[in-house]
Every structure is written in C-alpha cells, then in structure tokens.
Assembly symmetry: C2
C-alpha cells in the first residue's frame, strides 16, 4: 500500500473509532503513536501477511486510534530477513516474523518457533502462556532491545514434496532436498544433501531434477506454489516443524514509551491473532488438501513410522548438540525438554486418544 | 467478593488505567457501563471461575474503566443453572457458562459445547472462527435475546472414575454411572443405568457403592474431589466431551447499547480467555495427572479401542436422533458433520501423526 493511501485509511479508521465511542474530543487529548511494522512475508501472502495486517488494524481499533501501525511486507522497507535487526536497532518500531530466522545470532532462537519433534501449536502455546516459554523468550530478546509476543502458529506443517519414495531411512541417502534449519541438519546426518534455495527457484529446481524434494509450509501455501505439478509424492507429517510459532516483536524503547493500557492492547491483539491464525491455517489447509487430492490426484504419503522413529533419534542428538553451543540455548533446551516430559503422559490419554480413536 | 470490596477494586482499576494513559479527564467524558456477570461455577472454582474473573478484569482494563463487570459465582445472585435465563431476561447483562446446560430449551444447544465423538478444542475453535459455528450459535441465541462468544475450552476431558473394569462393551451392562447429557444417553443404550447427582453427593455415592462410576472434568478438577480415594480405575479419554467450549453470553439489549469499540473489547478479551483457558487446563491437567500417578498410585486405564469403536457407533445414532428433534438442531448437526468430514483427512496427516509418531 502507498503511504498516502495508508494514511487516508488510518485517518478514516481513527475517525471511525472515535466517532463510534463518542469521544473524538476525548481522544484528541491523548498521546498518539504512529508505528511501522515490517514483516518477513511477501505482499498479500495469505494468513501470515494478512494476519499481520489484521493485527495492526485491531490495535488501531482497540486503542481508539492512539496506536496506529503501518504494515510493510518483506522487501518494502527492509528485506524479509532484515526484520529483527530493523526492530533491534529501532529503524522501525515493530515486526512480524519467526524467531528461527535469527538462529545465526544465537542457536537458542530456534526453540521459540519450532524444533524437529518438538511441540505442536497447543503445546507451544501452553509453554508460552503457562510454562516458562515466554519468560525465557523475553530474557533472550532483551539482549537485543526487543520485546517478543507469540502471534500466530502454522500448526503442523507438511513433510514436503518428493520425487523419490521414502520407504526406509536409507532412502534419504543421496537425496537432494531443499530444507533449511534444524530439519536440514537432521536429514544431512542420515545421508541427504541439503540444498538452500530462495522460494522463487524451488519450482524449476524440482522440475529439472536439481533437487529431489522440498518442504514448504502446508497444503494452503503449497498448492499456490504448484509443486503438485512437478513432484510425485506429498509426504506428511512435517516432523521438522510440528507447530511453528510466529512472533510480534517490538523495539524496547518504543515499547517502554507506551502507556500500560496500550501494552495490554498489544497483549490481547496478539493473543487473538494467535488463536485466529492457527484456526485459519487449519481450515485453509483442510480445504487445500481436499483440492489437491480430488482435483490434482496428488499421491499423499505418510512417512513410515520406522522412518520417523529413526529421524526422531537423530533429531534428538542434533538438538542436544545445538544446545551445547550456547549457555542460553542450553537453558532454553532444558526447560523445553522438561516441559515436554511433563506434558507427554497427559497428551497420551487425551489428545492422542482423540486423534486415534475419537475423531 | 462483597460488593463494597469489588467497588473499591473497580475504582482502583479504573483510576490505574486512566492515570497510566494520562487520560483521566478524557475518559470522564465517556459513557460508562457497569455490568453484572453471573456464572455456573462455584466461588474460586479453578480455571473456570478464575477465568471469568480474569475476563472481567481485562475488559475493565482495555476499556479504560468504561465497561466494568462485577462477577458473581453460581448461587451468589442466581443459581448456577439460572445463568441463561437471567441473561436472556435482562436480570443481569452477561454470564459465563456452557451452552449444553440449556439443552432442555432446544437440543441444538449441545453442539456449541461438545458432543460425544465430536471436535476437540482446536476443532471447535476452527468451527467457530473459520467455519459456520459462531454464526449458527448467534442465530440460535438471537431467539433468546442473547449474543454468545466462545470463551474458554476444557480440552479433552477424562472418561471418569470406575470401580469396575471396562474390557468389553458388555461391561457397561448394569453399570451405575453418574454421567449427564448425551454421554449418559449413549451409555444407557449399551445397558448402563444413568444416575444424576449433584457434585456434592458424588464422592459418598461412589464410596458407598450407590454408583459404580462417575465422570467429572479432568485431572486438575478431579483431584480436588478426591475420587482417587474411593475409585479403583481412572479411565480416559473423555469420549463424551472431547473439547468442551465455554460461553460468554450477553443480553442483546445490553450488547446493542455498547459502542462499537467496546464490542471489539469483548471480542478480543474472549479470544484471549479462549486460548489462555485451554492452555491453563492443559498445564494443570498434566501436573495433576502426574501427582495422581506418582503420589496416589492411581490405576490409569485407556478404554480399549474396540469399546470406543462401539461407543462411537452408538453415539452417532444418538446424535442423529437428537438432531431430528428440532429444525435448528438438524441444521447445526448437518453443518457440524460436514465440517468434521472436511477436517478429518487433514487431521489424519497432521495432528494425528504428531500425537502418534512425533511427540
């Protein structure tokens, strides 16, 4: 959106809010904040960019126009992977992204999005809101002048698109796959060649056999990439990202300048986005999977349980190694591991039973 | 809480909010609302009553003291099961409860809390926010001058405490069990005797053999009832309530009187409570289950898959019969069924895999 057209909308929204609450005069006495939010998502990117925009709109409404946030998609103001630094340095006030993109700064960042064989969305949210998750996240980010909040979750992702069958763990040997992060480190250990490619080059690389496989997100986003036209099999589940949390990050100085009630507005608007985005992912994924199966006759495969078992073992080793790289990573890892151990027996007789014998 | 002490707190909260946003004068010009919320929960009842109180507090903060809600536990102002009528008639402005308590008015009410072998929390929320769930709920409640919002979820409940083993479906024959609602109708069909008892009489009835079994909620609440002292087996999962949604209901006239921004405050505060309450249930259930197992050596049992399969079949018939009783119930049922069918294949390769092979 152009700045001029944004300001026009902002003006209208603020006017709307004040008129509706019969308080134009009242609000005019308030201190106002005009923030910029940068994101890691392409313009109009479904669920993620649209979610970030919905967050900004909600904050504007709830604050009666006192905190207006203009949203810039990835590349519009800073590069998609420049979000963290821009917020940290105060170039912009806030951003929407995913913490594992910043793993180069500190391996600890990875636990706050998703780790292979880690927690699903319900588990991540329980860790954030009830366990020590958010506390540890804030501790880590305070070193970078950033205040984080959970703000969305992708739910369980898909394993990816393959042109080779995966029947045993040995089928990963020599497999050329585009899969970044910890997932890549895991399959490298079982003999795969990890290829890193920008989003725009994946389709042709898959088509030309430069890669044998790629992961992306889930059905809703994958179908837009057209991978079903150039890959034989669609494998699930996304063991490497069982519930990726998104983040809303605010520059500490900008955050400190807010009155208490506007901080609370950010709390509730992020909580609402958190639950809404997950359900949007769920719904859109279900619809897209149906379309992939019915209209495009996609060959849907489950990784064999024995393959997942082996990947799980290798992932565990990989994560232990990551945790040893840094003191804070170790602290986060130990807490995460203890939390998983606490929750597992309960999950076993509740949600696991639900998905196995009830649904 | 006494009214005097409530008003004192309200005053302090409002003052706090206005002082923090430098707007005492500004807010004083606003129209203010003082509402009463009645609930179906005992005073201080963990997670549910405390959640309702947190909702009221949050609304007060977010509105800068313009919408203050005083919370009355069940029986303090109206009986626990008088919440719906009190809100419908405008005796009070709002309430926190569960829609299936009002099934006597119309069988359709049951789908908005939970039905046997229905949706879990993630599914209910997806149905509400992305499917037609909330739309249908509002349509149904509009006949009673009520505007509903989802406001919390118990997560998967437990199957209950038993003094007889359940190895086959025939073990339900002659079993005297306290289990209200549709769950009761289902086990009655497989030969059980359904006993209805108020909460305060369950423990001694179980102790004296008046009943052989009872369901309650989940580990966090069950442990407080002490059932582990008088029952041999703790069975899961709660097939009859796989994800019970709670409701925040507002009298339509009171709702209409709110300016648009205060309606939005209710939206976000309820969304926040919705996700927070579910994670609180998850966390407290996990901790209580651990305690029941370690300290009280509870004999934890899974209903055999064949028993669940049979119960599922009977539940399906029972629900079809319920749906035939009323036009709106049929409409809701058809939508719910179609939604379940849409979501199932996606759940099969995502969350089901997560709980089976990833966690």
């Amino acid at each position: 959106m152009e700045r001029r057209s944004f300001l026009k909308k902002v003006g209208a929204a603020a006017l709307g809010a004040t008129a509706l609450s019969h308080s134009r005069k009242a609000y005019s006495a308030e201190k106002r904040f005009l923030w910029r939010m940068v994101t890691s998502w392409p313009p109009n990117f479904p669920i993620l960019q649209t979610g970030a925009e919905r967050l900004a709109k909600r904050v504007g409404e709830l604050s009666g126009g006192r905190l207006m946030i203009q949203v810039y998609a990835g590349g519009e103001l800073v590069p998609p992977l420049g979000v963290f630094d821009a917020v940290s340095q105060g170039t912009v006030e806030c951003g929407h992204s995913a913490s594992y993109y910043w793993a180069g700064k500190n391996p600890a960042f990875q636990w706050f999005t998703s780790i292979p064989f880690g927690l699903n969305a319900q588990g991540m949210n329980t860790w954030f809101y009830q366990g020590n998750g958010l506390k540890l996240w804030r501790e880590l980010y305070s070193n970078f002048n950033i205040v984080p909040r959970p703000a969305g979750n992708t739910g369980v992702q898909m394993g990816g698109w393959f042109n080779k069958e995966i029947n045993t763990i040995d089928d990963f040997k020599g497999l050329k796959m585009r899969i970044p992060g910890l997932g890549g480190k895991v399959i490298k250990k079982v003999g795969a060649t990890v290829v890193l490619l920008p989003g725009g080059e994946i389709y042709t690389s898959l088509e030309r056999g430069v890669i044998d496989a790629t992961e992306w997100v889930g059905p809703a986003h994958d179908i837009r990439m057209g991978f079903h036209k150039v890959a034989k099999y669609y494998y699930g589940p996304g063991w490497h990202e069982p519930g990726s949390a998104l983040e809303f990050i605010v520059n500490k100085k900008a955050h400190d300048a807010l009155p208490e009630d506007l901080k609370q507005v950010l709390d509730v608007a992020c909580a609402e986005l958190n639950i809404q985005m997950l359900t949007e992912f769920e719904y859109e994924n279900a619809k897209a999977l149906k379309k992939l199966m019915n209209d495009h006759k996609v060959n849907l495969r489950h990784f064999p349980p024995q393959v997942l078992k082996k990947l799980r073992k290798v992932a565990k080793e990989t994560i232990e190694q990551e945790a040893q790289k840094d003191k804070m990573a170790k602290k986060v890892h130990e807490d995460f591991k203890a939390f998983q151990a606490l929750m597992a027996p309960w999950a076993n007789i509740s949600e696991q039973e639900y998905y196995t014998n009830i649904i």
